[in-house]
Amino acid sequence: MSAVYNPTIAAITLRGLLGRRRSLLIALPPALLLALTIGLRLSTDINSGRDFGWPGVVLGQIGLVTLLPLTAMIIGTSVLGTEVDDSSILHLLATPVSRATVLTTKWIVASAATLVFAVVPIAVASFIATSGYVDNPGPFDTYAMPIKGDASEAVGVIVAAVVGAVVYSAFFLFLSVVTKRSVAVTLIYILVWESLLTRQVSGLRLLSIGQYELGLADQIGHLPNLGAHLTLGTSVVMSVVFTLFALIYGTRRLQSFRVSGEAA
């Protein structure tokens, strides 16, 4: 059995994740994104003079920075959090499987589920939104970069979404190891840290996963209106650092995991 992936744990986790009506609930926001993209695509001519530059806003602000973290939150906190909640984590921890394997397996499952439920819809939406871009100078692109008119905009968004899914999953999994109330803490991160504080204090961009995604998408695809601020190098390095920190420190915390009763 490999050291990073345990198929039995993966199967149990996946069953717990998708077993009930919950998976329908996760599938609802991506469907909304696709409907929005198709509607906008049909109703606007993106190569005309009256272009509003909407693909950047829809794919970046709605897809990458809102849909992806929320989906990753629902998935990332339920692969481990529900087991902590009903204390069935004890059975898992009592097995002779190394804690690192438990964590990485759950991380792989969470990443894969986020890929399916968030990244695939974003990928489809990005092709719908940007295919047929001929020459758009990007009216609100502060750098006024010419759009190359190939698939690179879509590729940029997709790469960013894949990276985002992996990093978000690692980080939210880490949060559900560290805290009892993982959903609340995750929400604090998404709502207060990424959406409220990062908007006001520009230095926090360096510690915000959403900004890494936007930086990646912008550097690869130059899609206007993304609102990206970080460079490619910073985004890649910080993504790797975030993931490694979450996995290594998460493993350490899982090794000394303490199960208490209902938190007072």
Binding site: R22, G49, L70, D85
Partner: protein, 315 residues
Amino acid sequence: MSAETATPSGVIHDIGYRTYDGERIGRLGIVRALYWHSLRSAWGLGRGPKAKVVPFMALVIMCLPAVANAFSVSRTGIRAIAYDEYMNSFQLVLVLYLAAVTPELISRDIRNRTLPLYFSRALRRTDYPLAKVSALITAMLGLTAVPELLLYIGTIGSRHGASEVWSETRAFLPGLELAAVYSVTFAILAAVLSCYTGRRAFATGAVAVFFFGTWVVSSAMVHLTGFRPHYHHNPDGNGYFVQPHDPGIGPKISGLLNPANMIEGMKEWIVGRAPKDAEIPYPGAFGAVYLAALVALCALALFLLMRRYQKASLL
């Protein structure tokens, strides 16, 4: 078991139970107790320190701009944040608070199956959700009205003369009313969103995804459907920005997609103007639709909430 006490006949073991023959507080008393208990637990009072973290963190974050404003006004005379933009700017904190607290109030009773205990008393089916929602609204008022009040106090501290204080008060009162509208709307919607599941985590997720998701989509749609300057391309490759004179119907409808934007549109309609950097364009006569939609949404949510507690399957 002693023979001296008035032993009724036919009792095999008298282990000393006595029936309660004092005054019974009845339905109103139960509702009041339920309200008070819910209000306390909405702020984590009477519970452990962990339950107090999110509510009081939210309150501190909400109050920070008001405190910063007090310094700003006293030093430079410049107001940091307007009364009627406060709630909209920091609505994510309200969402965070509700997402953390509403499931505590509503989902826990479903999960722990304590509802039969409540309904076996002299409590009507509609009393329970009403008590919970009013407690939630009151708790939200603490989170919305206290920062407004701090903002007001911090500002009039640097104002001189009765007329200045009076004009400040006239600006403050609409802000307070707006805080009340936000509290009522958000509390009712959050309550109905979390009354369908006993799992706290799901209810938290539902509340957060609903408010945050619709807000992002609605705000983006307001901008994308025309309420922003767009770039006009010339054939020679140059171009210029065009500010749309009339935003059209698109942004106004997009504003209806989110409760906070709905409140903003209604506010602008009632006040009769929109600030330059408003999230929602001035709706004009369309404002009546905002008001109607808001009332209808709250009524529908209340109706669903009431109907939920009529269901026997809940027990």
